[in-house]
Amino acid sequence: MAATIDQAVASSLLRTMFLIRTFEEKVSEMYAKVEIAGLLHLSIGQEAVAAAIGSLLRREDAMYSGHRAHGHALAKGADPGRLLAEIAGKAAGYCGGKGGSMHLSAPEVSFMTATGVVGGTIPLALGSALAFKERGEGNVAVVFFGDGAMNGGSFSESLNIAGLWKLPVIFVCENNGYAEFTPISAHTLVERASDHATLFHIPAVTVDGNDLLAVREAAEPAISRGRSGEGPSLVECLTYRLRGHYEGDPNKYRELSEMAEWKAKDPILRFAAWAKKQKLVNAKQAEGLEAEVRELITQAEHFARTGPASSPDAVATQVYA
């Protein structure tokens, strides 16, 4: 798999993961200081999935996400300052503060929308895919969801239609083992999203979601199939969130040993170590990337912190087009 990645791509992937991690650490810090309000779901520990998929997409490819969406939007190219301002409820945010963390939308980079309803955006991705199929430009739609969405009707119904109509959609399940506070085993006997997809005759693969290269290797042919009119695919990424379900989650439903085990599998450390070993990114370059990202996030924080809050005058505007 190493053969497919050159130095520029390796640097870019590492940078995206640094960006997501640093951004979300900043979100967490600002939340702790009560500079951000609301219900925040961080993807710390799951960055490889967003970075790998995002790196394979064109600007025109549509992306949809669920409630844990910050990393996806960043991987699609959304501006960190406007994202952070949105999460902080500021007028300069992408949505003028009307969306917030769970309803991010950055259509300028085709990050269409995220949702607070588990599984809710899966059907929407099919709609973008239908439009792409009709236009024949080879664009694809990607939707991220968690294992909690596997047991809802919109997932099964969407697999059925996507397969039947050969829609260019890539279902990306971030299977982090827990739906909110409950392990997957308490919700279903079918613990693999790929098993659902196979039932509907959709090519599917389950990979180690903390191995960026494995995710990329699985997603590349899936996206190619979508672009060439061969229909949908599903990529299931087994991963783990190193934070709680939401910021402030006391996390009592997980063993410390389990968390320590996954911390050792941190996707950023793993990829950085591999890239160094392959002589794709040396230590100095990695430090440089990290420093550049930190500066970017400092600027984003400044932008989010200093801008005005959303004006009360806007409370009932933009309801209709």
Binding site: M112, G127, G153
Partner: protein, 320 residues
């Protein structure tokens, strides 16, 4: 041309002039249960007139995504009773994406759906749920009562850049038009019969019932002004209030159950806009607070009719 043929005409002509219009729904490629989409798949191809599995929630969600991507989908939900299955997508995404995105997104989506009691089809094929929909910021709700409006308002709905639910009463499908309209703009009420003694505001099929009641009332010397709001969201309060200021009395008639019905909202808005002019409490006529029954004898007892409208008018009329 009847109501149903007018629907087909609007769909066909809109599809002819805008290649972004796509039709989706159960059986639409074979014409649908009443033939509203008959001939469209042959004319425009089955890639634009798409039969979907029976999965209302996902089909509406898919249409939302297609709308975000620049298409203008028209979804047929065979019975409004089944819109319950799509309420999540309709309420949480179609209605809210414009707002939640701070005006970045638009959802030009039309949902056509059949409502109302007709033919003893029972509790799952006969409901009137429009008040739920009108309660959701971001949705528009249209209830045509005539063939002319079926065509004109459907065109307006399809051309609107917002999600519009277009609620068609099944019992009107074979109605041949004799009611004319001044405009086909969403949010404009239509005076169906002028009168000076009482304002009767009626929606959907109840417009016909109200007009019959008005004829009977005229025989007793009561001239009712019958107004059809036509769109419940946005609501043309000005036209309704202007009439009530003139007549000083109002009766609101809908087929939906009375508690929490659109009549409650209209009454509240009217009393705020015309309180000083009212000479009697605003009366509401609708179905009893019960599901729609199946038996023809129960069904007849369920739906408001000429007699119940006449009685309501007389109750608040000085000439009673």
């Amino acid at each position: 041309m009847n109501f149903l043929q007018s629907i087909t005409k609007a769909l066909r002509e809109e599809m002819q002039q805008d290649p972004n219009i796509y039709m989706l729904g159960e059986d639409v490629a074979v014409g649908g249960p009443y033939g509203a989409t008959r001939g469209l798949a042959e004319e425009f191809g089955e890639n634009r007139v798409i039969n979907t599995p029976i999965a209302e929630g996902t089909v509406v969600g898919l249409a939302i995504g297609a709308a975000l991507q620049g298409l203008r989908p028209v979804v047929e939900i065979m019975f409004v009773d089944f819109i319950t299955l799509a309420m999540d997508q309709l309420v949480n995404h179609a209605a809210k994406l414009r707002y939640m995105s701070g005006g970045q997104l638009r959802v030009p989506l039309t949902i056509r759906t059949a409502c109302g009691v007709s033919g003893a089809w029972g509790a799952h094929h006969s409901q009137s749920l429009e008040a739920w929909l009108a309660h959701v910021p971001g949705l528009k709700v249209v209830m045509p009562s005539s063939a002319a409006d079926a065509e004109g308002l459907l065109r307006a709905a399809i051309r609107d850049d917002n999600p519009v639910v277009f609620v068609e009463h099944r019992a009107l499908y074979y109605q041949t038009d004799e009611l004319a309209s001044d405009s086909f703009e969403l949010g404009r009420a239509q005076v169906r019969r002028p009168g000076q003694d009482v304002t009767v505001i009626a929606t959907g099929r109840m417009v016909r019932v109200a007009l019959e009641a008005a004829e009977e009332l005229a025989e007793s010397g009561i001239e009712a002004e019958v107004i059809d709001p036509r769109t419940l969201q946005p609501l043309d309060l000005e036209t309704l209030a202007r009439s009530v200021r003139k007549t000083t009395r109002a009766v609101i008639v809908h087929e939906a159950v009375v508690p929490g019905g659109i009549g409650a909202e209209i009454a509240a808005q009217l009393q705020a806009a015309a309180f000083d002019y009212l000479d009697a409490p605003i009366e509401r006529v609708g179905a009893p607070f019960a599901p729609v029954p199946a038996s023809p004898s129960l069904e007849a007892a369920y739906v408001p009719n000429k007699t119940s409208v006449v009685a309501a008018v007389k109750k608040i009329s000085k000439k009673a």
